[in-house]
Symmetry: C2
Subunit: 364 residues, 2 copies
């Protein structure tokens, strides 16, 4: 595929200007651009500017509140529920994450469940912020339905990611960010664009039959939960997706399960039934110093990381990685060489530039 | 296989007497018996009296402190680290879980990381206790190495389970209890006893090759993390096991990763290197009322459960289950019909009875 390469700062600038175009306050534009840039800069291509057109569409039709006022609905010491006032998840998310981290510094841990919010970018962005404050960070979100519950043949749950990050000392931190489906939807899209089959265990077709055809999943099929089938313990991925759904959406009063509001306005099957407000996020942080001397913890993390790296690798595998390694490697390359964008993503950016008259970032 | 059937109360009585035989205080014996009974009564055969002989062996050689004094090493509001003073995990676990729940009622959430402890039974026991107090409960523990990190061919992590439970209203609660390996070790043992092959994706042999032979895993092979291989996203199971290991053991100062102390004294390869004290647990609880009206939450959980149950099932699947259903079903049967024990488990109980002169429970 043809890819154009862009300077990370130029891309950020374009994203900020797009949000500003809709009257979003400057500080909030910076925040939203920072969340999207995290994905592009770390190689998570599905969650960066590839999704800018969707945010653009939603803002254009007035589906998003550009001046949301966060409201704490309930609170008790280390925990709270916040109504995101239908703001951009890219703005509500970072602010609620801050509140969870502030609580952790006061109470030893902090937990914020959020309703009435929208898609918040890559889940991994949030716990990585906690690392700056020497906290353990956690973020969960429910998402539009795309995954069957184990044993079912209709999609009822989202890819509901789990992200958690642990600080370290001299070694790089451990950063986990994983969909609770076997694969994220983006991987199926990529296979479809490349016209390649996918492994059995990723997808069902619209009749609930296992399929290797990515298009059969995209056309009203479904993803399978992590573990895929009975032999692979697919019930475990379902358990994890259920846990994320309850903590993010049932607990906060957002739309849960199949009622989660679709991200894209062009999606088929906007659920008519609403059981809550918007979608839901869940942010958490633990203050390490409440458990352990910080330097001792960091040294132990360094030792953990070194011991795991030294595991003899499987035949054909260069070495055992630490969670976060692939994203760190991508970051190193992209901040030096620039960020490659798919033709289809570039076209969507050109469309936004044309309609808004924001100057296009120039390819390198 | 020949199975004898036992009255649940008679089994509990035998277990209590066995712990009392070693001089463990009466209240602690009741607690330990309650944890083991939870497994036998809920069909989790690997974690109940099947393991009594191992606790017996450990107590007999004086490996366990029968009068442990729990010590809070560090504390900050909602969080604490506790040194279990090398007590039985079956006694330290419930007590530390109580402390996490007490904290949740004061601070909105409570988190206790525990070092210097031993095997604590089924992880699911602990969050189920939280349900009695209308809390969301969570428990994690690291365990003896048995699982490869993704891409590795030597076991470096335990089956490190995640258990979490959510209260509901009229419907039964959601109870999740899952090893972060594709399957728990017990499933491989069962296949071996039945001389049946296991699916590819469960095990590696001692050379790091995928194997269908359960004995090839048992003889110095290893389990694979949930997701198994690259196509199944085995890196995700590794991420989850790493998360459990860090929260339970690195955070508390216990032995982490490959250094986790083996449960059975007969195990080969007692790690010589120690990087902390004992193994580690992690208990947590959230007070729902800090987030949401309790009755609203319970009604939403009921609705969630009903909606998932109504998912059209896959061909050949009777219906979609809710996490906790299989254990509830087993409980219903066993509390009526009695608890079946394998011949090998019965033999181990006879051995204990003979050595201690505790009267054997009579089969029904």
């Amino acid at each position: 595929m043809n890819k154009l390469i862009f300077n990370p700062i130029a891309l950020r600038g374009f994203v900020e200007e797009m949000f500003a175009y809709f009257g979003i306050p400057s500080e909030d534009c910076k925040l939203a651009a920072d969340v999207l840039a995290y994905s592009d800069e770390h190689g998570i291509d599905s969650h960066g500017v590839a999704r800018l057109i969707t945010y653009y569409d939603l803002l254009k039709v007035g589906r998003i509140n550009i001046h949301p006022k966060l409201k704490i609905i309930r609170e008790k010491g280390s925990v709270a529920t916040i109504d995101g006032d239908n703001g951009l998840g890219l703005i509500i998310g970072p602010k609620c994450n801050e509140i969870a981290m502030d609580k952790a510094e006061i109470h030893g841990s902090g937990w914020v469940s959020v309703c009435n919010t929208n898609h918040y970018g890559a889940a991994g962005y949030y716990p990585v912020k906690a690392l700056e404050r020497d906290l353990i960070g956690l973020s969960l979100t429910n998402t539009t339905k795309g995954v069957v519950p184990f044993g079912g043949r209709e999609k009822m749950l989202g890819t509901n990611p789990i992200a958690i990050a642990f600080p370290s000392g001299q070694e790089p931190p451990m950063v986990i960010d994983m969909a609770t489906s076997t694969v994220a939807y983006g991987k199926v899209e990529i296979a479809d664009r490349q016209q390649k089959p996918v492994p059995i265990g990723w997808c069902l077709d619209k009749d609930g039959q296992p399929t290797v055809d990515p298009l059969a999943m995209i056309n009203d099929g479904a993803l399978l939960p992590l573990g895929s089938d009975i032999e692979g313990s697919g019930h475990k991925g379902y358990c994890l997706a259920a846990m994320v759904d309850v903590l993010s959406a049932v607990l906060s009063g957002a739309n849960w399960g199949p009622f989660a509001v679709p991200f894209a306005i062009r999606s088929d099957g906007q659920p008519i039934t609403q059981v809550g407000k918007g979608i839901g996020h869940f942010f958490g942080a633990w203050d390490i110093t409440g458990f352990q001397d910080l330097e001792v913890f960091k040294k132990s993390m360094d030792a953990w990381i070194r011991v795991m790296r030294e595991t003899p690798p499987l035949e054909g595998t260069p070495r055992v990685l630490i969670p976060g390694d692939p994203e760190r490697e991508a970051y190193g390359v992209r901040m030096k060489d620039g960020i490659p964008l798919d033709g289809i993503v570039w076209e969507s950016i050109c469309k936004i530039a044309k309609e808004t008259k924001i100057p296009l970032p120039s390819p390198q």
